[in-house]
Subunit: 361 residues, 4 copies
């Protein structure tokens, strides 16, 4: 299957940036979960904030729950959310054939033989993540009721670091309402000014998102293939611009010795815990009950306003290309809510496989 | 599905370290592919070399092709390879309940409720990767016939760097026979001495593997979920000790600007190419025809010979633990052939989905 | 996965009878297939004809293609079709708790714990098949362009037989526009009068649908599990009221001897054919190039207007139940287009697995 | 995936009739299930009885559990059973190119382009069902511990009927040890003499198997695609020679009216039951708590000893064919244990999806 992911709880995406709508079908979700439409709207707003960093098109992202909710609760049958596309500026993209560097224009052509919808990136547009965020909002709510909390901060952006995670529960709660998800407000100022400086240079910046998940039971995940790392990375790499994923100490492990990398176990109030968490809460692909910790890198948005060299793939010639339209100089902070969403959806799937359909309700 | 991966071409793993055998079923592979048993044996030897770095059990890894091959060629029906376990020192592991830090002992217990086979790590043992390597050998051969070459080197280990990839074709060919997969022989000496020094300290080291794939057509992969990055990372994170995966410039993207991160397109001998390859041959989740480039990090093997603090999860008490038996101080160089194998298997799946069952034959 | 089916070409259904809409996502379909909206509308009308046999709600079934079509052709990305629900008479169904015999009211309750949407059968409504028909129309068109024709007639209904298939190509073409799909117009009259007689008795009738598929290449299907029979029956049993599926001589095989049941092969104009077709075009789960032949039985619609004994499952009491509202006395003729649709979708999947993504375009 | 079936509990088959072995990997089965090797052996013997009706090769079917069982219980990790092929008379099949009518010789060639292993039917051989039976034995035992009983009788064979199911529990228990699975011993005599008479005529016969499943909870199955009927039929049609599947009254529904076809609900000892069971325990694709009832038809084995017309597909010529070797005149009674097995495996999957991984343990 192509645009569907998940075994017990699955998501299917559809839509193009300038078609009638984008949307998602969330299937296998337990019946009886409260659906908080305000929270869905809130999450969609985090994905597309009307803030000082955004110059792009500002749609309010209204959505329609087409199925799967009855009297405010999930029915257990497929839950379809449709998000109409309201402002479509197709003229911004009247350059078919000129491959925008770093974008999927050329690969879409190679795959779909010029039948792809190129307007605004078509099915490759970041706008498709709205479906992930809407479905993810329901998953996040359901997990929260079971004591499972997910939070992501922008740990590095444009060369500026945020402070590290401290008290995870408090940090996750503090992040939930922040449009610009950093733990330290000084970092926010420095990052934003670096982002705005890139925008002045008609350029863009990237960043690193760090995520923590609290409250997962031990014993979730599979030893081969459907390891927690495998399932979550598969989902995370679907987010446009994610080019790397690391768990726990990640690439830092390369320079550690085993005596430092291993997390000693100890008993604490009758539970097995580890004294530190270099392995990010996962041993052998399976949760150990400690917080799940991982990071992913967001490359700088390829939409920059400088002249770039490229080709016209319709006639096989070299050419120049200069972007017009409205594009953000940074999407790393906006990707945060997409990360939270796909992680919630992936964990719902793993938990439903382990504990059955009704566990989340 | 749990120990099965893939849609058109799939692999299913079975086995425990100290059971009768480990093995694999490779299904959906095209009929008519030549099966080179010597190459399978060669690849299995790379996974378990009898070299100066290995103190572990030295099994010759004989294997039996149980099905799917007739007159030296694949039949197109499931190809089962069984690798009998010949030397089983179960006494080495008579410590059930004491969770080895960094290992899956505790998480296996949490998941399987003490029914898991704990001997030698059971189903979590690195030995299970022998099945991946055996199936991968067939996939690698088939891809090579289609001009698709895969090579991995140990780009960093124990604090020592190998030189970067240069002429990819030549480097990949040079790597294919190396037991210790580095491009620069000076790196080999320095890495090995750092590894042996760790062993003297009863400790272990990690490393980074860097992979290149040459000859992939443009247009392979899916925009959402089954992106090339998503599929390959899902597989790579199945390899025990892999804790991070990055494509192209990976985490380095965090500090780049878009104008540097974007890869300009240009025509070269009638083909679309990029002037550089920061995106690792993938745009929008789909191959662009340039070499596929990625790296994964191997954490230091958790099997160290120092006293470690842990718990006995059978009675919920703190305790000490000191490993006995035979264990390597580094597995990063041995993981190389597993990386090549899962990448070959994942690509066969994506290619078969795109071009049909018979494309590889 | 639950409401998704298919590997290379997949369909995902959503919707409730009285929610905002029902719909479908068709994914993995080749790019470049012409989308004939008139044909989709035509097929939807066959599913819900405004004819002399229908007393039910008469919606015109307008539909919106939300994604996956650009300039009249498939893009190759997910194709979502939404069919708004326009006439919703929820009061007809204000009997929650009284399980209609033969319906899914009680089993929905057992599965979804009273969170299911009960209005009009909710997600169990036959209306959900509109999504199958809309997606199926695209698959049928694409197959037709490749010379693969699918046709179904009502071979028996209310005790009346239609004539057997004769010249398959001509019969299939004749059926395509018929609202009441019989080959012999005398059968139509007799069946209709038997159906109307059942309606006068406030009762309903069932029937048998017989399907032929012409033009399939030999070699499609898998030896185990994904046999042609297995895949098609899986889909056919999704159609509400289908309770049996048989291929070729089907249950008639029980009384045959092998010498009669076997289909001798012979050469005809350079092709391998069989002299007769008791096996329905399938040997060992795989097409042999002869017409695919199968039948499925449609049970009488359980919606009858007689007083029936049942229970109120909300309080565990016996009670009586008398249906009100509008319901057809026969749905067998309407199920025909759903059969054609799921068969087309299932075959597209098998063909795309075999010949690759682009084969249908 | 091709030779793999199932979502939470899955089975993967491998093997050829005359290769080293046939076998199965059962994955996702709960940890802690007792594995009764005698029962596995017993079931394998039912599949290949050394009785008065069998003239075929008589292998004792020894088997090796290669993985997934520790101290007599399932570990929860993949359980591989290998069944070596001990008596291989390849000379019986030295007729490559001559397509045996009713067999998969030609379709295998069309699919695998002459790379298939033709010896003894290769991967299409009924012998592959030994893997299903071995895995099914574990599933049957596990279900039995949860009060779920499965039994199948030969309800019709060679024109002779067995008596109908009566007291289901008693009938299922009586069937479990019978090599020739009929409820009425008079039927056994009549069927056997009809079978032997066919054998004298160098011919073969078919039959109908009827299955009952007791003790399933209400609420298992999905409304679309993964209906109980869809999942079980998908599996049943994998059994060679099955050409039809019907649930409850099946094809008999064609001539019923709704007032007769509907099963009225009533309360009985606090539970919802139906007064009769025309729907075979399934409403809307989901179990209603009543016994699951279905039938499948087994076509006469195509292996007959009469001269038959066929083609040599290697050179495209018409030719005659006369079978030699050892083949049974009836396999319907032997297919019984395969039916029980796949039904048990399919139900384990549906139950594990609903109630979680550990439910069966």
């Amino acid at each position: 299957m192509k645009n569907t992911f998940g075994s017990s709880v699955s998501i299917t995406l559809y839509g193009e940036s300038h078609g009638p709508s984008v949307g998602v079908i969330l299937d296998g979700i337990a019946p009886g979960i409260e659906v908080d439409e305000e929270f869905i709207a809130h999450q969609l707003t985090l994905r597309r904030p009307a803030d000082d960093l955004s110059t792009g098109r500002q749609e309010p992202d209204p959505f329609v729950i087409e199925s799967g909710v009855y009297r405010g609760k999930t029915t257990g049958t497929p839950l379809c959310i449709r998000i109409p596309n309201t402002s479509q500026h197709s003229d911004d993209y009247a350059f078919y054939g000129k491959a925008r560097p770093g974008h999927a224009d050329y690969t879409a052509y190679a795959k779909y033989h010029a039948f792809e919808d190129p307007r605004g990136g078509g099915h490759f547009s970041g706008r498709i993540t709205a479906g992930l965020v809407a479905a993810g909002a329901i998953a996040l709510s359901a997990l929260k009721k079971k004591g499972i909390l997910i939070g992501t901060h922008l740990s590095r952006c444009a060369g500026v670091d945020d402070r590290a995670f401290g008290d995870l529960k408090r940090d996750i709660e503090a992040l939930s309402d922040k449009v610009f998800p950093v733990l330290d407000s000084a970092s926010e100022d420095a990052m934003k000014s670096a982002i705005l400086s890139a925008r002045e240079d008609r350029d863009s910046v990237g960043g690193i998102l760090e995520t923590a998940v609290l409250g997962l039971p031990a014993g979730v995940g599979e030893p081969w293939f459907d390891t927690v790392e495998g399932v979550l990375s598969h989902l995370l790499f679907s987010i446009p611009a994610v080019k790397g994923v690391e768990f726990g100490d990640g690439f830092g492990f390369a320079d550690l010795r085993g005596s430092v990398a291993n997390d000693p176990f100890r008993m604490e109030q009758g539970s097995v815990v580890t004294s530190k968490n270099s392995n990010g809460g996962i041993n052998g692909g399976i949760t150990n009950g400690m917080p799940l910790l991982f990071r992913c890198v967001i490359k700088p948005t390829p939409s920059i306003f400088r002249e770039q060299q490229t080709v016209d793939f319709t006639d096989g010639t070299d050419c120049d290309f200069t972007l017009s339209g409205r594009h953000d100089p940074c999407i790393a902070h906006r990707a945060r809510v997409v990360v939270d969403s796909v992680v919630a959806l992936g964990l719902c799937d793993l938990l439903a496989q382990r504990y059955g359909t009704d566990w989340l309700s």
